[in-house]
């Protein structure tokens, strides 16, 4: 297969902080060095890799650094990575919305981006007018749009509203219309950024089908950025993992997802301070102050009890307080919860230290995150949560203890089997 996109040493530098103050002096300095002294741009040398969490010294940061990619025609490429890894910047550069700092990009044909569908829709204009407007913005000629008008209208399912101003459309209809136009653009390269998050289920199916058609039947290239590992797994052949603006992994989509999920939990956090006694939130009757994983570790073996220690403080006395927890998998989907019947009482302005232990959890090998809430009430009175900590800690189940039955098969767990190994018994009778 011939190459559709070739990216060589692509880098993009951003300036941090408030743009506008001091830029004139930098501009003048840059102009002086480059045009008068004929030297390199003085601000290109400094700059650090793009790691959101650590504080850097430089005012400039590399959002993308030395990206090299060669994408074959007809390939469906998934680009995954944490927030701020540079995925969207890369797509923005590819769709020519912004310019990179160094490097070159070569591509063949027309690139259409679905960065956000419905771009340029004017609320006062009718659906039909907007199809023409939007198509023209995407680079289609008038004749081309007229030729495809029926198909677009059909795909969007908005025929009845075609001559109604778009401001009267529901948000779902707007997205449908926008995607319908974009899907009929017939670009050689299609760039998609998380659009599938919107729209109803039926339409999502249609959209995914269209994306598959586009890549399979017509030999077009698709670049797909998403946090939805399921969609990436279903759609993509090749996968790239971006990390801090650099390519961390490149391979099949399945392997890339595995690599991404494996490195996702690498920020080991076992202790968190939510608030101190000085800045206790006023509106919360009972609030979490600190939280920690006991044993100070993030990886556990199969069936190993996991303990969490909290400090909570009450503003008012509560007679029947309880702690609840929800565990989610690496993709963020909840897989189970604890709804507590063990109550404890807490007095006004009292500070309590609590241990919460997860027993016999049967979680299979994988990455999980856990959320907690402190509240009151039971199934009769209804539940009230005073304070909620969403995705408080990430932890892994990755080691096994030979003394625990079934532990070995847990070590070879396949993601496709789910997240829980059910307690079981096999008998010969």
């Amino acid at each position: 297969m011939p190459t559709a996109i070739k990216i060589e040493n692509l880098s993009k530098q951003y300036r941090l902080g408030v743009i506008g103050t001091g830029t004139l002096s930098h501009d003048l300095n840059r102009w002086w060095t480059m045009n008068v002294l004929r030297r390199e741009d003085p601000y290109l040398k400094i700059g650090e890799t793009n790691d959101r969490a650590t504080k850097g010294n430089s005012e400039y940061v590399w959002a993308l650094k030395d990206i090299n990619m060669e994408i074959e025609q007809g390939d469906v490429v998934g680009i995954i990575g944490k927030n701020g890894a540079g995925k969207s910047t890369l797509l923005k550069i590819l769709s020519r919305v912004t310019k990179h700092t160094t490097g070159t990009i070569k591509y063949k044909g027309r690139i259409a981006s679905l960065l956000e569908v419905g771009t340029g829709f004017h609320p006062e204009m009718t659906g039909r007018e907007n199809i023409y407007m939007n198509g023209a913005i995407m680079g289609m000629t008038r004749a081309e749009i007229t030729r495809k008008l029926d198909e677009i209208v059909d795909f969007s399912g908005c025929e009845r509203y075609l001559d109604t101003p778009v401001k009267r459309y529901s948000s779902g209809m707007t997205v449908r219309l926008g995607f319908a136009i974009a899907a009929h653009l017939d670009p050689e390269i299609l760039v998609v950024d998380e659009v599938l998050a919107v729209g109803d289920a039926e339409f999502q199916k249609k959209a995914i089908g269209k994306m598959q058609d586009v890549s399979k039947g017509e030999g077009r290239t698709v670049l797909f950025v998403s946090h939805n590992m399921g969609a990436v797994r279903n759609l993509c052949k090749t996968g790239y993992v971006l990390k801090n603006g650099m390519i961390d992994f490149c391979g099949t989509a399945e392997n890339a997802i595995g690599h991404y999920l494996a490195t996702k939990v690498d920020d080991v956090v076992t202790q968190k301070t939510i608030c101190t006694e000085d800045n206790l939130p006023q509106e919360k009757t009972v609030a979490f102050m600190t939280a920690a994983i006991e044993k100070n570790k993030c990886s556990f073996s199969f069936k190993e009890p996991i303990s969490f220690v909290f400090e909570i403080k009450a503003r008012k006395a509560v007679a029947d307080c309880r702690i609840n927890a929800t565990i989610a998998d690496a993709c963020g989907a909840a897989i189970g919860s604890v709804s507590n019947d063990e109550f404890f009482s807490i007095n006004k302005d009292e500070k309590k230290k609590i241990r919460f232990t997860l027993l016999d959890h049967n979680l299979a090998a994988g990455q999980y995150s856990i959320s907690f809430s402190v509240g009151t009430g039971n199934y009769k009175t209804g539940q009230t949560d005073f304070d909620i900590l969403i995705s408080l800690f990430n932890f892994d189940i990755d080691t096994y203890d030979e003394n625990i039955p079934d532990s070995k098969s847990c070590a070879q767990w396949n993601v496709g089997w789910g997240s829980i190994m059910f307690p079981h018994k096999t008998e010969i009778i």
């Binding site: 070739k6 769709s95 310019k99 490097g103 044909g109 913005i137 680079g139």
Partner: protein, 304 residues
């Protein structure tokens, strides 16, 4: 040696080969995006490819302007009419500024419609990037499409206002006012073109600079208002002492408006030299403007 059939076959082969060659050539045309391009890398061909978009933008501007209004396109003419009435009262009656023997309505109206066209284009073009950052941030198309279509859509407004001017003009001409149209009226298309060009040039220069330095937005806002007083709209150029006239003439809009008044009304100052100066300045503004605009459009998303 070769029969006709063979010849035909060879011919077909050559054609197929040539076709393949051309096709291969096409297959190999990659678009290359480089980080820096020279100032003169204008790519007007691409702009031409997007001519349908210019048309759509113009249509959108005109259609959406009067949607959900009762008076509709009438708003296009109401604005200059009210301004003219105001000017007649303030500058004609109260201040008693000369109108060179021309009825006040015709004198003010002729200047106002051209000036309005100029000011509207300039104001909107200077906001090109800030107004459209939403669209610009998502899709690529030659950004020059927007200021060009603004300039064209305002032209429609000017045409409607001009039609009203013709009606007023004919009325006063028929009732024997001191109006002497002459051959210089033929300059009109050129004058409109120059107004469009100057506003486009200034507009895109300002829009490029405001992406980084917002101060210019404030400067332009009252700058345009002051600029009107530096243009002979409420007063004839003649009323300025002859040795100071050059100062007003430095303003490129002066000769445009004076030439129009000279051709349509028969009063005012016509000078080939100053008209040429305005034309040259317009060309320069557009060239410099497109160059700066072209450079800014590639990176403005990071600074806006």
């Amino acid at each position: 040696m070769y029969g006709n059939k063979n010849k035909a076959e060879v011919f077909v082969r050559i054609i197929t080969f040539a076709y393949k060659l051309v096709k291969m050539e096409n297959d190999l045309t990659y678009t290359i995006i480089k980080p820096q391009s020279s100032l003169l890398d204008l790519n007007l061909r691409e702009l031409w490819q997007y001519r349908d978009l210019i048309r759509m933008y113009v249509k959108r501007d005109i259609v959406t302007f009067y949607k959900q209004t009762i008076l509709g396109p009438l708003w296009f003419v109401l604005q200059p009419v009210l301004t003219t009435v105001m000017f007649m009262f303030v500058f004609g009656n109260l201040a008693g500024i000369s109108t060179d023997g021309i009825p006040g309505v015709v004198f003010y109206f002729s200047g106002i419609i051209i000036w309005n066209y100029f000011a509207d284009c300039l104001n909107r073009n200077s906001r090109t990037f800030t107004d459209n950052q939403n669209v610009f941030g998502k899709v690529y198309f030659p950004r020059l499409v927007v200021p060009i279509s603004v300039t064209i859509s305002n032209l429609v407004r000017l045409a409607i206002q001009f039609a009203l001017f013709v009606v007023i003009y004919i009325y006063f001409f028929a009732t024997g006012a001191d109006i002497e149209p002459n051959i210089y009226l033929l300059f009109l298309p050129l004058l409109v073109l120059m107004t469009a060009g100057i506003s486009l040039g200034f507009g895109i220069i300002f829009s490029s600079l405001t992406t980084k330095y917002r101060d210019l937005t404030f400067l332009l806002q009252f700058g345009v208002q002051l600029w009107m007083y530096a243009t002979p709209i409420i007063y004839p150029l003649n009323s300025i002492p002859a040795d100071k006239q050059w100062l007003i003439q430095l303003n490129p809009m002066t000769s445009v408006i004076e030439t129009f008044k000279y051709g349509a009304l028969g009063t005012g100052v016509f000078s080939w030299g100053w008209l040429g100066y305005s034309f040259a300045l317009m060309t320069l503004l557009i060239l410099v403007g497109i160059m700066i605009f072209n450079k800014i459009e590639k990176s403005f998303m990071d600074t806006v």
